[in-house]
């Protein structure tokens, strides 16, 4: 297995260069030359390069970027908006923050090129509210780009105009869902909207709107500079390019690592992550952020980090959040945190999601506290299954998938908790028969 050499990195080459977030240093490193090249190309040729690159969206859904841009109806006579999704809030994911804080001009350059390709003259970066440092850094970079004439009217004589605005969210995971983001940017609660119409046709203010993730847009300058075909030589046959993987949990060296798609997961954990902390034994890995079903240690040994291979293990690359769980952490606790998260963040518009997320969370918590019953497992499976594909947005599926995944891959862990609950009940009933007081709770109120 060959690792990606540092000089071949696409997104993180030289990312630790001091002051890379200033326009001087960024340009010294060759920054903004892809933008200049792009202005010499036809917008459709740019879309063509991105199509040829095979780049798929890095926000989680993995939709082909060039195809998305190609869907935009350019001739409606309406303004076209380009929204950069920097709401990064899926538990386990922190790659966009790195790009925003360390290399904001790369994102701005990507946005300028993308806006030129999709004929957009107004763009917003929607950054999650908690990322105050990133927001400050990006705002400063935007100001520098305006001062240089890279934003505003008639950029470098190209006749292309672009205004770019940084917009801060305010603490709502659902605003990362593209239509929730659009609602939020319109000054409303971040309620997702039913698709179709897709944002590319009717999004922000009912105008055609392209929504792309930070990492997706940051990849664009390289593709334009080096060509889509060159990008496609990275990665595997069907999963092209490199990605940022966010490694956290029980490893020696957590962090963000760029690698080619197709890298064995085991290499990511052992080589980049420096292996398990304190020599602990591996229990499970969540491979793509909290919504992605976990992998067992045997699966971790075999799994490659590419879109198709990971699917054969019933999971996804998601937004690149790899969470490593050691043996001593009870899986029920992990699942409890995950299901509480989705319950907390459900916007409440759809009944299966609003009710289902609460039911999952409460049932899991009751199992965790040894109040479970043997019917609970089937009940969880039934509830989770009924939440899939039945709602306005995919948060409901995101809440259901880890529950189904954990139950399927680690049934013995959950069975053990139910057995323990049963044993406690027996002891408690026995004491009652003996006429002794019992303080044990046998049921948790739902």
């Amino acid at each position: 297995m060959k690792l990606l050499a540092p000089e071949r990195r696409i997104l993180t080459k030289g990312i630790d260069t001091p002051n890379l977030n200033t326009i001087e240093v960024y340009e010294k490193q060759g920054g903004y030359s892809a933008m200049k090249k792009a202005f010499g190309m036809a917008p459709d040729a740019i879309i063509g390069e991105v199509k040829a690159s095979g780049l798929r969206g890095r926000g989680g859904a993995g939709f082909p970027t060039g195809m998305k841009w190609g869907f935009v109806p350019f001739n409606l006579g309406k303004p076209i908006y380009l929204l950069c999704n920097a709401d990064e809030s899926e538990p386990g994911c922190f790659k966009d923050r790195l790009l925003l804080e360390k290399n904001p001009h790369l994102l701005i350059e990507g946005i300028i090129i993308a806006s030129f390709a999709v004929r957009s003259h107004k763009s917003y970066i929607y950054v999650r509210g908690e990322y105050t440092l990133a927001a400050k850094i990006v705002q400063k970079a935007i100001d520098e780009a305006y001062a240089k004439g890279y934003l505003g009217k008639n950029i470098l004589g190209s006749k292309h105009d672009l205004d770019l605005v940084l917009h801060r969210g305010a603490g709502a995971y659902i605003c990362g869902e593209e239509t929730g983001l659009i609602s939020s940017l319109e000054g409303k609660k971040g309620y997702p909207r039913l698709k179709p119409p897709f944002p590319a046709v009717s999004g922000f203010l009912n105008c055609p709107t392209v929504v792309n993730n930070v990492e997706t847009l940051c990849t664009v300058p390289w593709i334009i500079q080096n060509g889509g075909a060159t990008y496609a030589t990275y990665g595997t046959e069907k999963s092209k390019g490199t990605r940022l993987f966010c490694l956290s949990g029980w490893v020696n060296k957590p962090g963000v690592y760029e690698e080619e798609l197709g890298l064995p997961l085991k290499v990511m954990i052992d080589h980049y992550g420096g292996g398990m902390k304190d020599g602990s034994k591996l229990k499970a890995v969540i491979p793509g952020g909290s919504s992605t079903p976990p992998l067992t240690p045997e699966e971790v040994d075999k799994c490659l980090l590419d879109y198709d291979h990971i699917a054969t293990f019933g999971s996804f690359l998601g937004a690149g959040g790899i969470i490593v769980i050691p043996e001593h952490i009870p899986l029920i606790k992990i699942l409890e945190r995950i299901s509480e998260f989705y319950w907390d963040e459900s916007c409440g518009q759809c009944t299966p999601c609003r009710e289902g997320t609460g039911w999952l969370f409460k049932t899991i918590r009751s199992i965790e506290h040894h109040h479970g019953h043997k019917e609970d497992i089937d009940d969880l499976k039934r509830t989770a299954t009924s939440m899939m594909g039945a709602t306005i947005c995919a948060l409901s599926d995101a809440a259901a998938m880890p529950v189904l995944g954990f139950l399927k891959k680690f049934p013995q862990d959950f069975q053990a908790l139910l057995d323990e609950a049963e044993r406690k009940r027996k002891v408690s009933a026995g004491r009652k028969l003996d006429g002794q007081e019992t303080t044990e709770m046998t049921e948790v109120t739902r």
Binding site: E130, T132, K189, G190, L247
Partner: protein
């Protein structure tokens, strides 16, 4: 709390300071619709008044030509807007997977021991409050606490206890976070 908050009892007396009024106007000008400036305007208001009282939200509605109901709804939808005085330091402790695995439960325990408060409570001297939060996007430096705007990373019980003591003694987050 500041004098401005006391004045906020009477909605007619609520106004942005001249600099904030200017910042507000510059912000609105960036958007195609006034309503789009809702979140930045609420941030400006929170910065000035400390939290969003109903009177402050009515004022924001007026500025943006929005019915107060819509401002209330939005303000309660987004968790970063404070609806009551949360004191000088809002301790936002991440309780999600990676932080939990790396010991965030201990941090809640430290807060209980040192400050005697639980979730959404404020100390009597209005110096500290606690809010459990979801993943802060910093799982590689877990466990993480966000204190007002600043992230404090790679914590453990002892470091966190020392930090709280320093803040209580009047040091600034930036000073103790280097």
């Amino acid at each position: 709390m500041s004098d401005e908050t006391k004045k906020s009892e009477d909605v007619t007396k609520i106004a942005f300071t001249p600099e904030r009024q200017k910042a507000f106007e510059a912000t609105v000008a960036k958007y195609e619709r006034k309503a789009s400036a809702l979140l930045p305007t609420l941030y400006l208001a929170q910065e000035q008044f400390g939290f969003l009282s109903p009177q402050v939200m009515v004022h924001v509605g007026k500025l943006l030509d929005m019915p107060p109901r819509e401002v209330f709804e939005a303000a309660s939808f987004y968790t970063m807007f404070r609806k009551k005085d949360m004191g000088q330091y809002l301790l936002q402790v991440c309780q999600n997977v990676s932080c939990c695995m790396m010991g965030s439960d201990d941090l809640f325990q430290v807060i209980k021991e040192e400050l005697g408060i639980g979730p959404d409570e404020v100390t009597a001297d209005k110096k500290f409050s606690l809010q459990p939060v979801q993943c802060l996007g910093s799982c590689d430096t877990a466990p993480v606490v966000q204190i007002n705007d600043d992230y404090v990373e790679r914590l453990d019980a002892e470091k966190f206890r020392a930090l709280i003591k320093k803040l209580a003694a009047g040091e600034k987050v930036a000073e103790v976070n280097s």
